[in-house]
């Protein structure tokens, strides 16, 4: 029989009251570390609290290292141009960005300026959280931007932000996979882009040439990227909201065409089964591991693809149907309503970072597309794979103002959820075209309160 000794009381421990015990030390360290830990969790804003100094702006953003370098260079240039002004950059991970911003707005201490995707912009502008810039920007300021970019930062007819850069999707292709399938050179300009039927024919050719476990292409509509499905709707010359953004306009022949075409990708095995809108596998990953021969992606992906991929690849414009079209991706810079006291400084900062030289530097370094009309007309060249710049710029020109204006809807967050649910049902749930379009229309109407 095995015996067990009762736990012996600790003896011989230094119990001198004048010396801190290990427990006291740990407790003390915990008390000291708690504020740091809370700050790390985002409970306590670190560099993002509104600065009382009238010449200091707090600016919260996320970004790749190239983007953050671009912002730091732009800030340094602004501070040099405007003596006494300071911009405090607070870089946070994208995953925390908007839960932090929302919490800071609720707590009444948001940053003065922050970066926001166009599809999220409307949620802030529509709820009165942003500063109306119209009285503070110089006359003619809007003229520097493309109409589609300027339309994306309007709410109720007023600008609540500045379009800092954009991005839109083209098709990246694995050159060898296409060669093996007998597909020749791919189009390089928007004018000779594949039509939907030509694109489908290429995909079917790849389907026949590839082994069963490989697929012709993948579409980047996962997560909030579901707004990229709208590219197909725009190419079919459709809309999802009416002109006043107050009711759904998706119950249309164009929408039926777009749903029918994109839905067919799944039963025809042109895309992997896990390429649906709610999948957690991003389309780019399937292209990187050569499960797919082509992928829809944006300029932002070029540096990573260039450094990571061992195969020969290039890009071709997105296919067109009734017309060319694309999603208006990218980000705006906005100011919070509470920063009105610094409106003049904010306007100066926004004007500075959207100057021709500043935007060129930012976009070329970070591989993003400009929103200035002069730069879109061919004024930039990416630092990485510069020969692809015209393909991306051409695609950006295909975006229309009436398309990008819809994405600025204040109800876009709810509309995104409607699109995700409706398209998931169509793509993997087997729901028919008419039922899908009707579900999207009623869901969007509910979202906008029509």
């Amino acid at each position: 029989m095995r015996g067990r000794s009762p736990a012996l009381p600790a003896r011989g421990r230094n119990t001198d009251a004048m010396e801190p015990t290990r427990r006291q030390l740990i407790g003390g360290a915990g008390v000291l570390a708690a504020p740091l830990a809370l700050a790390g969790c985002g409970f306590i804003p670190t560099g993002a609290s509104p600065s009382a100094d009238a010449q200091t702006l707090t600016f919260t953003t996320w970004g790749t290292s190239a983007e953050l370098t671009g912002f730091r260079r732009a800030i340094a240039s602004f501070q040099k141009a405007r003596a006494g002004a300071t911009v405090e950059l607070n870089a946070v991970p994208y995953e925390q960005m908007f839960t932090n911003i929302d919490a800071q707005i609720q707590a009444g201490n948001p940053p003065d300026v922050f970066r926001v995707p166009y599809y999220t912009f409307g949620a802030y502008a529509g709820q009165g959280q942003l500063l109306d810039l119209s009285p503070h920007l110089s006359s003619g300021f809007a003229d520097r931007f493309t109409p589609q970019a300027w339309a994306a930062v309007q709410s109720g007819g007023k600008p609540y932000g500045v379009p800092h850069h954009t991005d839109t999707s083209v098709v990246f292709v694995n050159r060898r996979a296409l060669d093996d399938a007998g597909v020749g050179a791919v189009p390089q300009t928007a004018d000779d882009a594949w039509t939907w039927s030509q694109f489908r024919a290429v995909a079917q050719r790849l389907r026949r040439a590839q082994p069963d476990r490989k697929y012709p292409f993948a579409v980047n509509w996962q997560g909030n990227g579901v707004t990229r499905w709208l590219s197909w709707l725009f190419q079919a010359d459709g809309r999802f909201l009416n002109e006043t953004l107050t009711a759904s306009a998706i119950d249309s022949r164009a929408a039926r065409t777009a749903v029918d075409f994109t839905r067919s990708f799944f039963p025809d095995r042109l895309v992997p089964a896990n390429d649906s809108v709610k999948s957690t596998t991003y389309a780019a990953d399937t292209w990187y591991d050569q499960t797919t021969a082509m992928v829809f992606s944006g300029a932002f992906a070029i540096p990573d693809a260039d450094s990571a991929l061992k195969f020969d690849w290039t890009a071709t414009p997105a296919p067109r149907n009734v017309r060319a079209g694309g999603d208006f991706g990218g980000n705006a810079l906005v100011a919070t309503k509470g920063a009105e006291g610094k409106a003049e400084l904010i306007a100066a900062f926004f004007e500075h970072v959207t100057q021709e030289s500043q935007m060129r530097d930012f976009c070329e370094r970070a591989s993003l597309l400009p929103t200035r009309a002069d730069l879109v007309e061919g004024g930039i060249e990416f630092a990485v794979r510069p020969e692809l710049t015209p393909v991306l710029l051409g695609q950006a020109r295909a975006v229309r103002a009436e398309d990008s204006a819809q994405v600025a809807s204040p109800d876009m967050s709810k509309i995104i959820s409607v699109l995700q649910d409706g398209l998931e049902q169509a793509f993997v749930g087997g729901r028919g075209v008419d039922a899908t379009v009707q579900a999207l229309a009623s869901g969007i109407d509910r979202a906008v309160g029509a």
Partner: protein, 301 residues
């Protein structure tokens, strides 16, 4: 004088002890109040409001709860949460008990096996889910590669509803078995060997000793694990969020991922808070029922 002073001294000592007790418990009570009870009361209040996502809200009574009743995704998420709990709780405990029994015996290299089983506990939920993605990716995951290698068809771990649900269950079991094993192992090592020996002398089989002696004696451990496993299962989020995002077609949507979707993606925080309240009620009711019906709970705490 002496007769009067003694009780007074006792009272004063008793009062001092009470004060010390309150002093010792105060930091915990303060933290509990600040980080659990206050947010809870806040969430209850928000669940009765239509919110704008930025702190503003309009009191709408039971509207959010009425919406829940008519929301098919809520019911699907509730069903999934209950099914997930019903599957993972007994399996985690059963596998944990089995592993603990094995590792409590004279198994060679048991210290290594214990470490291997406990290792997933040291990994964060998100990291575990990312490992799960590497294994269950249906295009290039390890598991489908293995299946293809042995000539079996690949499984649609991400695009098939049942398979996606199963993948979440399997990763949960991998993650949680070690914890269950650890608690049971501690329980087993606290059992007196005399009872086992007495049962052996009475001619009982191994199975009878397990069923009639060991498992009943592990009652306090089982009670603790049952409550913890059920609450963990009700609150599952990170594995689902990273591995399947609730898809495909809400096949893996659970109450917490649905609350997150509403609270932080759609910014409908009132509705999200109402979903959270449902979750809270489930957990409280379960714990209360289990507490009242358990004969083997550890009353000494």
């Amino acid at each position: 004088m002496t007769a009067v002073t003694a009780p007074r001294r006792r009272r004063s000592r008793g009062g001092r002890e009470t004060a010390v007790a309150y002093g010792l418990i105060a930091p915990n009570l303060l933290l509990l109040g600040l980080f659990v009870l206050l947010p809870l009361a806040w969430a209850v209040s928000i669940s009765f409001q239509r919110t704008d996502g930025f702190g503003g809200g309009v009191f709408t009574g039971l509207d959010n709860y009425a919406r829940l009743l008519a929301d098919p995704v809520f019911w699907r998420s509730t069903g999934n949460t209950l099914l997930f709990t019903l599957i993972t709780t007994p399996l985690s405990m059963g596998l944990g008990l089995g592993a603990a029994l094995l590792l409590n015996s004279v198994l060679p290299a048991r210290a290594v096996f214990r470490s291997i089983l406990i290792l997933p506990m040291a990994v964060s939920g998100v990291a575990t889910a990312l490992i799960g993605l590497l294994v269950f990716d249906e295009n290039s995951g390890v598991l489908n590669e293995l299946l293809r290698f042995v000539g079996l068809p690949a499984v649609q771990w991400q695009s098939g509803g049942a398979a996606a649900f199963l993948s979440i269950v399997l990763v949960t079991l991998w993650w949680r078995t070690g914890f269950n094993m650890l608690i049971y192992l501690a329980g087993l090592q606290g059992l007196s060997p005399e009872l086992q020996e007495a049962a052996m002398l009475d001619g009982t089989s191994w199975w009878q000793r397990l069923r009639l002696v060991t498992v009943p004696l592990l009652g306090p451990s089982s009670f603790f694990l049952l409550v913890i496993n059920v609450i963990y299962s009700f609150q599952v989020f990170d594995l689902v969020f990273v591995m399947t995002g609730g898809g495909p077609q809400d096949a893996t949507s659970v109450l917490v991922t649905y609350a997150y979707q509403n609270g932080f993606v759609v910014r409908d925080q009132g509705y999200a808070a109402a979903i959270g309240m449902v979750l809270l009620v489930f957990a409280l009711v379960f714990t209360a029922v289990r507490w009242r019906t358990s004969r083997t709970k550890d009353l000494t705490g």
